[in-house]
């Protein structure tokens, strides 16, 4: 019998996928767009993502856990879907590549200043290729290991307690946003949750015992709590106006670390953030792979994976500066969020039609 995923591993997968370079600037983005005590906005924003996830749950129930590609093929002729698949695969490769390149550019603020970023990025892509070719189960296993190699970073929070003050949070709720509270600002704050929609590609790898959505919701809410914790830390550790000024408040927080036997250990801690980032790139690559397999069903060996990683590498050439990279990631994440809502909205009616057709055939 084919191995199925377990809810625990799914939770880790969703957790690691949602976590990427956006976490470094998250506190500033929230302070700029939502204002004082913006950490409190993460809960309702996360609830919106949860409502979005309920649509995926609905889709999963109607479709009987079938792959979304099978559902679509039951209703729409395959050739009509190919351009859509290609466009989506291209987009996911692009965003996976941007995520990786962004991490490299940020890390070059601290180390390997004069090395060509593309040379480091090539190594990163090598790791993406190694994971992608091993298939989803190996990715899940690697994610589990990476999760435990990374999660301890959260245990550093009490270290900053002596310099944290509740009075710096101020008593004001959502005041002082740079351009006032706006829909655009809320969307910009929401992008940190992008990634939960990946559960769509897990349908064929699960059965009832997997408890797919238990895992997805758990992963999503655990990351929500960790995000809230990290933003709350920044708002009480720095002053509000300072959070609005700092490019990467999380990295500036890490810069405050000091050990009796080691000065400036932040570079060491920063390195561990490569794990969730790598998983994000790999899973975007995996999403692209599922779409490309539908188009190039005869492709053999690891050619598709190879092509995806090469394309991902080449997409790294699209950005050379950190500012540009942050801007492109933000715009790409806006599209990703649009997709996160649009995909179930489009697929639920298709699933209904597919089910009726299936029932008709059966009769």
């Amino acid at each position: 019998m084919k191995e199925k995923l377990n809810w625990f591993h799914i939770a880790l997968l969703v957790h690691m996928f949602e976590l990427d370079t956006t976490v470094f600037s998250q506190s500033r983005v929230l302070a700029e767009n939502i204002g004082t005590n913006a950490w409190a906005a993460l809960i309702p924003l996360s609830a919106i993502a949860s409502m979005n996830l309920l649509l995926y749950l609905w889709l999963y129930r109607i479709g009987g856990g079938q792959s979304v590609y099978r559902l679509m093929h039951a209703v729409i002729p395959k050739p009509l879907l190919y351009p859509v698949y290609l466009a989506l695969a291209g987009f996911w490769i692009y965003i996976g590549g941007l995520t990786g390149k962004n991490f490299i550019l940020i890390s070059q603020m601290f180390a390997l200043y004069s090395t060509n970023p593309m040379a480091i990025y090539l190594l990163y892509c090598g790791m993406v290729f190694a994971l992608l070719t091993k298939g989803l189960y190996a990715i899940v296993k690697a994610t589990t290991v990476f999760f435990f190699m990374f999660i301890w970073v959260n245990a550093l929070v009490p270290y900053f307690a002596t310099e944290w003050s509740v009075h710096r949070l101020t008593p004001y709720l959502f005041q002082g946003a740079e351009h006032g509270l706006s829909l655009h600002g809320l969307a910009e704050s929401y992008v940190i949750f992008a990634g939960y929609e990946f559960c769509l590609f897990l349908f064929p790898y699960t059965d009832k015992k997997s408890k797919l959505f238990k895992g997805v919701f758990l992963g999503h809410w655990v990351i929500t709590l960790l995000y809230t914790n990290s933003v709350l830390l920044a708002f009480g550790f720095f002053s509000f106006e300072e959070v609005q000024e700092l490019q990467f408040p999380l990295i500036s927080t890490l810069e405050y670390l000091e050990l009796p036997f080691l000065n400036r250990p932040e570079n060491l801690v920063f390195t561990f953030f490569i794990y969730p980032n790598l998983i994000s790139s790999v899973l975007f690559g995996f999403a692209a792979l599922t779409a490309l397999r539908e188009v190039f069903s005869r492709a053999k060996g690891k050619w598709l994976e190879g092509a995806i990683v090469i394309a991902m590498f080449l997409s790294g050439y699209a950005v050379t500066t950190l500012i540009q990279s942050e801007l492109l990631i933000r715009n790409a994440k806006f599209i990703e969020i649009g997709l996160a809502f649009a995909m179930p909205a489009a697929l639920i009616p298709i699933a209904y039609i597919a089910r009726r057709k299936g029932a008709g055939k059966g009769a």
């Binding site: 603020m109 390997l112 090395t115 003050s165 720095f238 509000f240 405050y256 400036r264």
Partner: protein, 372 residues
């Protein structure tokens, strides 16, 4: 295929060796000092700085020192790089010294460029020096190998064990940005054979406006926050006290701030602030007329210590009010009681300078040492 992959991987990994930093070929800047140019002084129009850096040699006993006139610290570093045989880096920078002239002009442009540089740690100490920094950094002290190490150890020990606030870059920048508190810097003075903490520099925004004398830093310490292991020598004035001297050691302090608002605050009449301070420490020195073996007299001594502390704390607050510098963060607590709009419209510097601030002290002597 595997061989090819291994070969490719080794080439890639070896490429990392190109961007090497060999420790023997690097000059680690330990201290940067900013001064006004000698001929221009505090009111310089050109904005030029005299920048000095101190770099410990590999034997850790001697230093290399460079000094130049430049527009900014970074420009000065480029000039030093042309002189130094090793590449200069700021990853091991431990302290930045500002002379009082420079501090009066404002320090933010320099602090801002230090904050912007990811190579500079958030824990570097920002300090004011009342002496010539070039002479101070070049001097030999018996306490440590180099002046930079000496200052680093001195400031760390003082902040960890006694009552001066830790004025590292994170804390300075945090308080600079916060509209409910003003930043502070510790002040250093050079003596013929040592460097000593000469008080606490008070700021308004990024400009140094005045100081709390070293003898009063302990009162500033308890007003600003918790003191973990403070030490204080109390020289009681003649009038109204039965004691002459007392030394309170290993004391801890806690403060509580109560805000009472009864009207408009701009003129200071509507704002009343009560600061409650709790002290607990060991008495290790006493001279005076009280018999310390009697509980009643012990209570009296506690009352005298509390009364003296209250008087000194209130004097310290008056000093800050005169200088319009709320360095103990009363503004943060006032902000907690106000609406966002009212706070934004309030000129806090002005309201602080006129507020009625009272101090209540509760002193508790934990032990009286080994003799009664």
């Amino acid at each position: 295929m595997r061989r090819w992959a291994a070969a490719l991987l080794s080439v890639l990994l070896l490429s990392g060796c190109r961007d090497e930093r060999i420790i023997e070929k690097i000059g680690f800047i330990r201290t940067i000092a900013y001064d006004t140019t000698k001929d221009e002084g505090e009111n310089s129009e050109s904005g030029n700085l005299r920048v000095t850096v101190s770099i410990p040699k590999t034997n850790q006993k001697d230093t290399i020192q460079y000094s130049t006139v430049a527009k900014t610290g970074k420009q000065a570093r480029l000039i030093f790089d042309r002189q130094n045989d090793r590449r200069l880096v700021s990853g091991q920078l431990r302290q930045v010294l500002f002379t009082t002239d420079i501090a009066r002009r404002g320090v933010w442009s320099e602090v801002n460029s230090l904050l912007r540089d990811p190579g500079v740690g958030m824990r570097i100490h920002l300090l004011i020096v009342e002496s010539d920094p070039e002479r101070l950094l070049a001097a030999k002290f018996t306490q440590d190998n180099t002046a930079g190490d000496y200052i680093d150890h001195l400031v760390r020990t003082e902040t960890r064990t006694t009552d001066i606030p830790d004025t590292n870059m994170h804390i300075f920048a945090r308080d600079y940005y916060d509209d409910g508190i003003e930043p502070v810097m510790s002040i250093l003075q050079q003596t013929p054979n040592s460097i000593r903490v000469g008080g606490i520099g008070l700021f308004r925004g990024d400009r140094y406006v005045g100081k709390i004398e070293a003898a009063d830093k302990v009162y500033f310490g308890v007003l600003r926050g918790k003191v973990q292991t403070g030490e204080v020598f109390i020289d009681f004035p003649d009038d109204g006290y039965s004691s002459q001297y007392a030394s309170l050691h290993y004391f801890t302090s806690r403060r509580k701030i109560r805000i009472e608002r009864a009207g408009p605050m701009e003129d200071g009449q509507g704002l009343r602030v009560r600061i409650q301070i709790k002290l607990r420490g060991s008495l290790l020195e006493y001279r005076g007329g009280l018999q310390l073996e009697h509980p009643k007299e012990q209570k009296k001594l506690e009352g005298e210590i509390a009364g003296y502390f209250r008087q000194k704390c209130e004097e310290t607050i008056r000093r800050m009010q005169e200088l319009h510098s709320d360095a103990i963060g009363i503004g943060q607590r006032v902000r907690d009681t106000m609406s966002y709009r009212d706070w934004r419209n309030l000129d806090w510097d002005e309201a602080f300078s006129k507020a009625r601030i009272e101090v209540q002290v509760n002193a508790d002597i934990r032990s009286y040492g080994s003799i009664q």
